[in-house]
C-alpha cells in the first residue's frame, strides 16, 4: 500500500476512534485534590514591622536620616552606584542558584 494511502487510512481510523470525554466532575476532583499551600506571607509582614520599628527608633532618638544624608554627601558618587548595583547582582545570582535547587525562603 502506498504511504499516502496508509496515512489516509490511519488518519481516518484514528479520527473514527477519537472520542471527546465529558468532564463529569473530573476538573472538580482535580481542584479538590490540589494540595493547599500554607500561607507564610505573615513572616514578611512580621519582620517588616520589626524593621520599621527599629528604624523609627533610630530616626526619633539618634537623628538617623540626618546622619545618613551626611554620609551620602561625603561619599564619592561611584561608591553609591557600586553599593546600589551589588544588591540586584547578588540577588539575581542567588535567585538562579536557589531557584534551580527548588529552594524557597518562604
Amino acid at each position: 500500500m502506498e504511504t499516502n494511502d496508509t496515512d489516509k487510512m490511519l488518519s481516518a481510523f484514528f479520527k473514527e476512534n477519537k472520542i471527546e470525554i465529558p468532564d463529569n466532575g473530573f476538573s472538580r476532583k482535580v481542584m479538590s485534590n490540589i494540595p493547599i499551600e500554607k500561607d507564610r506571607s505573615w513572616i514578611v509582614w512580621f519582620f517588616g514591622a520589626i524593621g520599621m520599628a527599629i528604624t523609627m527608633y533610630f530616626v526619633l532618638t539618634q537623628g538617623l536620616f540626618v546622619q545618613v544624608f551626611m554620609l551620602f554627601e561625603k561619599m564619592p558618587f561611584y561608591y553609591i552606584i557600586a553599593a546600589i548595583a551589588v544588591f540586584p547582582l547578588l540577588g539575581t545570582a542567588g535567585y538562579y542558584i536557589f531557584h534551580d535547587k527548588r529552594f524557597s525562603f518562604i
Binding site: M1, L10, A12, I19, F26, I34
Partner: protein
Amino acid sequence: MSNTDDIRWITQLTLLGDKSAFDKLTCKYQSPIRRFFLNLTVGDSQLSDDLAQETFIKAYLNISSFKGISGFSTWLYRIAYNVYYDSVRARKYYADIDEQVIDSQYQTQNEFSAEKMDIYKALNLLRKEEQTAVLLFYMEDKTHKEIAKIMNCPLGTVKTYILKGKERLSVYLTKQGYGNK
C-alpha cells in the same frame, strides 16, 4: 479557545495565585489528556483518570517552571508522558500477571470499550514508544517536533517510531478490511 487564553490563565495563576484560572486549563485539557491515557492503557478508564489527575496536579505544582517556549499543551503532554512511564515502571513488578487477561476485563468494564476494541487491539501490536508517538501524531494532531519535545528524544527517533508503528498498523488494519472502506 487559543494559546493566548492559556498564557492568560497561566499568568493569572502564577502572578495572582488565581486557582480558578487553573480550573479553566483543566476543563480545556481534560478530554485530550484523558483520551491519551485511555488509549495508552488500552481502555482502562479508572487508571487513565488516576494518571490524568496526577498529571494535572503535577502541572499545578510545577507551573512556575513552564517557560512558554513550547505551548502549554506540549508541556502538559510531556508531564503526562512522564507520569505514564513512571506508572509503567512501577507496575513492572506485576509483570508476571497476564496483561491480556486484565486488559480484557477492563475493556468489558469501561463505557467506551464496545466500539473501541479494534483500536485497542491495534495499539497492543505496537511497542510503548510507538504507541505514544502514533497516538500523538494521528490522534492528538501533534507535529513531529512537538512529539520529540514530549518524548524527549531526537526527531529522527520519533519519525522511526511513527514509521514502524504505521507499518504494523497498516498490516493489521488491512487484514481487518479497513483499507477497503
